[in-house]
Amino acid sequence: MSQMSERRKFILGTARAVGLAGIGALIWSSVLEESLHASLLLRPPGALEEKEFLKTCIKCGLCVSACPYDTLMLAAPGDKKPLGTPFFNARDIPCYMCEDIPCVPVCPTGALDEASVSEGDILAIAKARMGVAVVDPYACIAFWGIQCDACYRACPLLDEAIVLEYAKNERTGKHAFLKPVVVQDKCTGCGMCEHACITDKASIFVLPLDVGLGRAGDHYVKGWDKKDQQRVKNAQGGTTQTEISKQSALDSLNDDAGLFE
């Protein structure tokens, strides 16, 4: 092999370094991408929306130390959650919804947003939206007709976030169902119900908002509800183009092209 020129050496060396950095970047970003895809976790009260939260939380654990019930934990390797970020497991220890919310004001980065859990200048934990409770009506024994109101009684917003729906038990003809129903715009996601649930595996459990809630979209509106008009105020017009909607409805029906061949 002939001697390489200095210029060629420099270019090759630079290319090699950039290539190595590229390998590193690919491995690193795929590790990050994977490790951040843990959607089933509950954040402390006042947490920003998940993507913003991951960006803003500095993982200092001040919220964890501030929690008087040891509810909050920092995700360690093996928890399969974004490393170092605070979360809680409602079945083990739920959020007890302290009135002075000690975990939120200590946050140095604003990842836990004090304003989102305040009414004016006063902290209001009932505004927290950590998740939403969901009932499995097939496992919940109240839906079987057996009397249980553990979740209803455990709820810190008694008779607000969980209400009991009465229905006649047709099987016996003389008993009532007392079915727990979650009022979604009151539920804070504290998980006291999940903690209190008496079934083997909780039949009422808290899911993160974006997992636990559906969305009707702008196509449907409650015509009988003035407030619901507001929801679709900013609805975008526009129609969907499909194979048969290219023509007008009448033309499409009358179109016999290819029908008699």
Binding site: W28, S35, L54, T56, K59, S65, A76, P77, G78, G84
Partner: protein
């Protein structure tokens, strides 16, 4: 030995204060090395973490901006890269690996692996690029320093595996491999601390050229002046660990204040 003891007291003491704050609510030093609260009022934040947050597009609050500024000013003016050898808990792991490596004589049976000291700066750059592209603090989600430190205070999980990787990497693959070559936080502090005042000073008049200082130094390049001329150790990579001072039997190395005037 006194500097070694002082370093261990500092490293373990800081951990103990964080631990006491978390377990007993002792409000001297709360939080962890990413961000903490000194005496319940003074914010202290990891400037590298805050820089990544800034690059990722997160809003920087006054608290962490001030915290990062305080830390930057302290290491920038006073300590240099002192974080690495006086605060960081990984130092105890790599020191242990290094100790064992020397005792077992692993270097004698091992083929020499070449690594560049600049790897850490590439990783540092990558951390910022990835933070920008992915919109999150890239290094903070994988940092073994945070995993170990957080783990000791808040619960370890499987974090020990990461610590073991570093231990065996330093023991079997490369001397001082993690702290001296790979760790971007060390690289970051060596950039911040390059102009700081507290420095080791070499006095060539006392030097007997035994070269024991270069033997123990984890960043050997910084001691290039030993046996040649008297000067303070000015390179940012020096962690002020004082191992060279302790090993020198001839009083040719000592802490001193850097003199910018001549």
């Amino acid at each position: 030995m006194r500097y070694l003891i002082a370093r261990r007291v500092s490293q373990i003491g800081i951990l103990a204060l964080y631990g006491a704050a978390h377990i007993w609510g002792l409000k001297i030093l709360e939080g962890n090395l990413s961000s903490s609260l000194l005496l319940g009022s003074v914010p202290l934040s990891d400037p590298f973490a805050v820089l990544q947050m800034f690059v990722s597009g997160s809003i920087i609050t006054m608290d962490i901006f001030l915290g990062a500024l305080i830390i930057t000013i302290f290491y920038g003016l006073v300590g240099g890269r002192m974080f690495c050898s006086w605060v960081c808990p990984v130092n105890m792991v790599t020191d242990a690996a290094n100790f064992l490596r020397r005792k077992l004589g692993i270097a004698q049976v091992q083929k020499r692996v070449y690594m560049s000291r600049n790897i850490r700066f590439w990783i540092l750059g990558l951390a910022l690029v990835l933070s920008f592209l992915m919109g999150l603090s890239a290094f903070e989600f994988i940092s073994p320093i945070s995993i170990l430190h957080r783990g000791l205070i808040f619960g370890m999980g499987f974090g020990f595996s990461v610590v073991l990787i570093i231990f065996f990497f330093d023991l079997l693959v490369h001397e001082n491999g993690w702290c001296g070559y790979v760790c971007p936080l060390g690289g970051f502090y060596s950039l911040i601390g390059r102009f700081s005042f507290l420095r080791v000073r070499h006095n060539v008049d006392n030097c007997t050229e035994c070269m024991q200082c270069k033997e123990v130094c984890p960043e050997k390049e910084v001691l290039f002046m030993v046996s040649k001329f008297s000067e303070t150790v000015n390179m940012g990579a020096c962690t002020n660990c004082a191992r060279c001072i302790e090993v020198c039997g001839d009083d040719a190395l000592n802490f001193s204040i850097r003199n910018y005037l001549n």
